[in-house]
Symmetry: C2
Subunit: 390 residues, 2 copies
């Protein structure tokens, strides 16, 4: 079995699903940091620096922007958005490009929002003209967009979207689900005028799962402060977490709920690694590797779920299987070659495609050959399944 | 500086706050496990075994009981309870012995519950006769009790409480906040007829912070299934998590939100260690060490916040400072001797007392001398502060 050696000195198959991703040894080492007080000076400094580094990662220098790091999965971010920014009956326009966009809509509805979904056939995305039309016809309090939908690998470009929103409905709060994009696709929080990005630790940020990470604009925070009704949540209340995050960033201990000091140590390590290089270089490397994967897949005669190049994320590639090749047949063959891909998750095509994640150390660490090995393994495994190629 | 050596081979002061506690090296080693798929067979088996071991920890063999492990802090457990078991206007009786009981009440109110608090002067607890009277006078849908309130170190004994509830109001759902008790104070879930216990990973269970852990009875789960209104939460919805937990325990992959595989590996390791010995031995060891701490504190002429012996937890000791000794004076002197205690958190007495946690490896690992060193350090630090003793 071709395999890497981890921080734990255990060889293991290379995890190339669209999250969790492979983690750098230094990040894993931080996970086993000795126990420390969540209000002691060592951890307070680490957490404070982590919050400040998130401002750089999201490219925001506006002091009114506010980062949050809360124990939870990426899904918790949807509750943060729904519970804190919307009141019952508020209209929200959800741009959905797959399972995660649809689920974000479900979460908003759970909190009583009046949700309109804009969708597209699987592999596509709502077009700017439709979005402009919808925003012109109805006054929406919020628009949400899944930057990269992990179920389809569809990228929704934010810059032109923000230009449309700012033109036709500047009062609409724009919230980005960046779970599968923060750390690998560009997000210029200030320049593009985004109000919120929610994400998680275990994808392109390169820290193990267990942290909900988000950034909200001053306008979004003001909305929470001035809201007439209290949010119907305790754990996901931005008002409760706000002073905690502000205190930690000011290097002052603070308590609402015990943070995961080991996970935050690991996040600190991964953010230091990310920010040691220009972000533009990091995004460019993800583009180059993604292009290589897409070319290899196309050369093999396979179809990418996100059909148009401009709709394809650089974080992952969702690939239709050839006729007669099944997931239960292919994935074990890939595993025998030391590579783990994910099966499908979009209900309309779940059994017909696989997902190949290419984020983080797999892309930026020049000592690793994960992607080349994965492409070779895919070719060989398909051949073993009887697929003869294009 | 007297200090231990951790898994990371770094010497560090001994963390004796009432959570997070010191972690065993094997647990910390599990934290740095290589990245693995949350739906791959290795992790699925680990998570499934973890859930099954939780049944043993809570002493429940009723197959209708249901364990949950969700990324989040202990605080998330309150939202689970409030959002899933109560509907707007439902009456809840909260037995409060400090900051955490009061906060649990606040969380229930956030979700619209009609909350009555039974309290006692700081260091005491509501008496059984009062509780019986309250339950007889009003029909409560739920009673909550903080088994050990981390702000005061007050223990609320569950067995006699359950006898009262079962006698006068058997339909009332009893939910235990066991954040500072599960793993060190006895909880006989089935025998005592408890409906729910919520806890967290970082206290007596001995796994780093970041996991909300809970156990609910078949009766509680049925209530969720038959509830007329949908819970006003997405991430904390028991209905959404239920099939996920059931699938993992049946060793079948399942997805709602990405679990923290490293934290669950660490929890698996700590539960294996705990269950390798009879639970009764573990509880007894916590009693013996707690008695030793209480005697040493009393011999020093200091007062324990939980005044009566029967109200004192075995997880921790909250200790009033002598006159003229302050927290900013004492804690750095303790740190210089390699010991970390916590300051106060109960608003009425916050600056007047310290908290000494004695849980987990500190108590059960016979190779460690944490408690003896802590008692000596406390004596020496108090002397340096000018305290002359009893």
């Amino acid at each position: 079995m071709a395999a890497n050696t981890s921080a734990t000195a255990q060889s293991h198959p290379t995890l190339l699903i669209p999250g969790p991703i492979e983690f750098d040894d230094a990040v894993l080492h931080s996970m086993s940091h000795y126990s420390e007080s969540h209000v002691g000076p060592g951890f307070v400094a680490t957490f404070g620096e982590t919050l400040s580094m998130l401002r750089q990662l999201f490219q925001t220098t506006d002091p009114a922007s506010q980062p949050f790091v809360i124990s939870g999965s990426g899904t918790l971010g949807w509750d943060l958005v729904a519970a804190n920014f919307l009141e019952r009956g508020d209209k929200a326009l959800v741009l959905s490009t797959g399972y995660f966009g649809d689920s974000f809509a479900d979460c908003l509805k759970t909190y009583g929002a009046d949700v309109t979904r804009l969708t597209a056939p699987v592999g596509g995305r709502p077009q700017l003209a439709e979005i402009e039309h919808a925003l012109s016809a109805t006054r929406y309090k919020m628009l949400t967009v899944t930057h990269v939908d992990t179920s389809t690998g569809v990228l929704s470009e934010l810059k032109p979207l923000m230009a449309v929103v700012n033109k036709v409905s500047p009062d609409t709060l724009v919230i980005v689900d960046g779970v599968c994009s923060v750390g690998c696709e560009e997000i210029a929080f200030d320049d593009w005028g985004i109000d919120g990005v929610i994400t998680a630790s275990q994808k392109a940020i390169g820290c193990p799962a267990g942290l909900s990470i988000s950034m909200f604009s001053g306008r979004a925070i003001d909305l929470v402060k001035n809201k007439k009704t209290e949010p119907m949540t305790y754990y996901a209340s931005i008002k409760k977490w706000l002073p905690i995050m502000q205190n930690y960033e000011a290097k002052k201990p603070s308590y609402f709920a015990t943070p995961s000091s080991q996970l935050i140590r690991a996040l600190h390590t991964s953010l230091k690694q990310i920010l040691a290089q220009p972000l533009s270089d990091r995004f460019q490397k993800h583009i180059v590797v993604s292009d290589k994967v897409k070319k290899a897949v196309t050369d093999l005669g396979l179809r990418i779920v996100a059909a148009k190049p401009e709709d394809q994320s650089h974080a992952m590639t969702a690939i239709y299987l050839p006729d007669k090749v099944t997931i239960p047949d292919l994935l074990p063959k890939l595993l025998s070659k030391g590579i783990i891909f994910a099966g499908g998750i979009h209900k309309d095509i779940a059994t017909k495609y696989i997902r190949f994640g290419h984020m983080g150390v797999t892309v930026v660490d020049t000592k690793r050959d994960d992607v080349d090995r994965a492409i070779e393994a895919l070719k060989a495994a398909l051949a073993e399944c009887g697929y003869k190629g294009a």
